[in-house]
Symmetry: C2
């Protein structure tokens, strides 16, 4: 099924994917999801926040077991981050049906909207709105690079912006959530395992640093008369790496915006975004406090540590291990996921990771071996069988 | 007259000007120029490269004295860089006529196209094409941010791209060129003079540095597994400043492009543009060679030193000094100008600078006092009177 999606939103120059939420590429992906649901006779629903649900059985009678992920992408991302979880959900359902299995409770496949936040800057938008942790008014006012608000974009897509927000009815249909995802590091490679389960999601956040100076002519302004914010930005980038090593966390300046961004002008403003994560909240907070000293900083997001339910995680790992015939280890991750948002909202949630041979993700070079993807489907099917019995 | 132009291409958010060549703002500025020529009974011509000429007298019979500058702007630039020279040219002509002066040879006002290179990246496009130092094929293939080539843009503006290129006939009309410009540093402030003449234009160039790494997830990639090009870029920015101090030149990274430029992704590629200039070519070359060591660098432009004709410069300074009743000092500049391109092509050329109280240019904060602008017009009129006698 991943092959069906191979051409959607692909940049022919780089081979990377650009699949912003509600873009033409995203609309095609949503149609693909609806088509897959129809082929399997599943009941398709789009909730008030644009998340898609394909149900086998009626969850309004009894909360079901849901699996799935997202179909949008970071810009210039790979083929697996998101789609692997959705494709594996349908494949696991097919595998269960091929064995004649009939679930003892409703089984759903979910596709969350705008998990990556590539367009409006807020990741896990669909699940944050659903669970009520993101205020719909704030979300609707967010703007994309073209200056359009989410409200504009939703209206153009034929959706109702005024209906956005916490949706306890839809959330109540989800008794358990299991998200399968490509691993985004080298944990499973080092452990020699094709599949693992998530123990925790590291606490993580995003901070915007504004460095202000005086825009001026690059040729005629003496060095001693300059107030060049690019120098302050550069020093902060290097300081962030040095401090990350010291605090045992990861820190990244991956996005920068320069004004006016002319080769012959000293900038007036350089804005850089710091992404910082680590095993413990205290270390991440200490890093940010250190870098923020004397700087103009705004916290754009902060997600506390998510410890996945230990009983559920062990049940999923045991079922998956039986299905595969190998040990399924548990490991933490530095990446945020919709499963983390749902877990924080009190929905028992678990994650399965599929081995990534290079650890590379958020890049056109992201890859997973076919045999490991198949192991992921086997593991997921075993977990769903266990949870819906 | 500057007030006539105050609203054209102005960004209401910043107060800065965005006047890209051939943009709607530029077309309005060109109409304004034509209107000013018509009001004064001047003969308007647009040459093959889009430069505008307003003639008092027929330069095909005898080469004339030309003054003027440009009307386009860097993005988020000020009101004076360019327009002051064009407005002062018309004002000086008015001043001469009000005194009943009749020139002994043709007198022209010029407006060069795309001096700043804000849209296509090549500064002094109009004068470089006119003099033949820029190949028209290369120019026509240049693209703007929207991906349109100069050829596309010219066609849409109703111009003939196939006619672009060296134009010895038009150039032959220019016996002498005098460009008035706001100073872009604090040289005249330090000397306590309202007006100065240019002694030389520093050698200057632009180099593109590509820093390649491995795009990856900012949360899940261990520090030791990273190949983050933002770190190499940051180190180069700081090295450039340190080396500039040591070599006695100026060096600036004012423009940067990051791919994919996502807050949660380690970049795969960071491209930074180095602008370097100084009194001597040897020092600038030494700086660039030092910074280029081990880096992926491409020279995008290089302009050797321009020493303005000593006899002409002294004649202009003496006439201007007589007109003002104060000394008109000579000083070099780090900024490129159409007058430098014409001088390099063998046209006797000179420049007058008007004091800039802060030295700030290429910024909405660029400013000149009204009394200094009037001194500029007086000085320019005196110079034109001397040169057309």
């Amino acid at each position: 099924m991943l092959e069906d999606l191979a051409d959607i939103g692909r940049d022919p120059g780089t081979g990377g994917y650009v699949r912003d939420a509600w873009s033409p590429a995203d609309m095609r992906l949503r149609e693909w999801f609806a088509d897959q649901a129809a082929r399997r006779g599943l009941d398709l629903r789009e909730d008030r926040n644009g998340n898609l649900w394909a149900w086998w059985g009626d969850p309004s009678r009894r909360p079901g077991v849901v699996t799935g992920s997202h179909l949008d992408s970071v810009r210039q991302g790979g083929a697996f981050d998101g789609p692997l979880g959705v494709v594996s959900a349908f494949a696991a359902l097919d595998l269960l049906r091929s064995r004649g299995f009939v679930p003892g409770r409703p089984l759903g496949v979910a596709c969350f909207t705008d998990e990556e936040g590539a367009r409006f800057g807020v990741p896990c938008m669909g699940s944050r709105l659903l669970t009520g942790v993101l205020d719909p008014g704030r979300a609707l006012a967010l703007t994309d690079d073209a200056g359009d608000t989410l409200a504009d974009v939703l209206s153009r897509a034929g959706r109702k912006p005024e209906e956005l927000g916490a949706d306890p009815e839809t959330l109540g249909h989800v008794g358990v959530f299991v998200e399968l995802h490509i691993e985004q590091g080298r944990g499973l490679v080092d452990l020699g395992a094709p599949v693992g389960v998530a123990s925790a999601i590291w606490p993580h956040g995003r901070w915007r640093f504004d460095f202000r100076g005086q825009a001026n002519h690059a040729g005629t302004t003496r060095l001693e008369d300059r107030d060049d914010p690019m120098l302050a930005y550069a020093a902060k980038v290097l300081a962030a790496r040095e401090a990350a090593v010291r605090h045992g966390v990861v820190a990244t300046f991956g996005k920068v915006r320069v004004s006016p961004n002319n080769a012959n002008a000293i900038p007036g403003l350089v804005t850089g975004w710091l992404d910082a994560r680590g095993p413990g909240e205290r270390e991440v907070r200490a890093l940010v406090a250190e870098l923020a000293e004397g700087a103009e900083v705004r916290e754009e997001s902060w997600t506390p540590v998510v410890d996945f339910d230990l009983g559920l995680r062990e049940r999923v790992a045991r079922a998956a291990g039986r299905g595969l015939g190998v040990e399924v280890p548990a490991l933490p991750t530095g990446a945020g996921h919709d499963a983390g948002i749902l877990a924080s909202a009190g929905v028992p949630s678990a994650m399965l990771f599929v081995r990534n041979p290079t650890g590379i993700s958020h890049s056109p070079d992201e890859h997973a071996e076919r045999s490991d993807c198949e192991a992921g489907v086997t593991a997921l099917a075993a977990a769903l069988e266990e949870l819906t019995r």
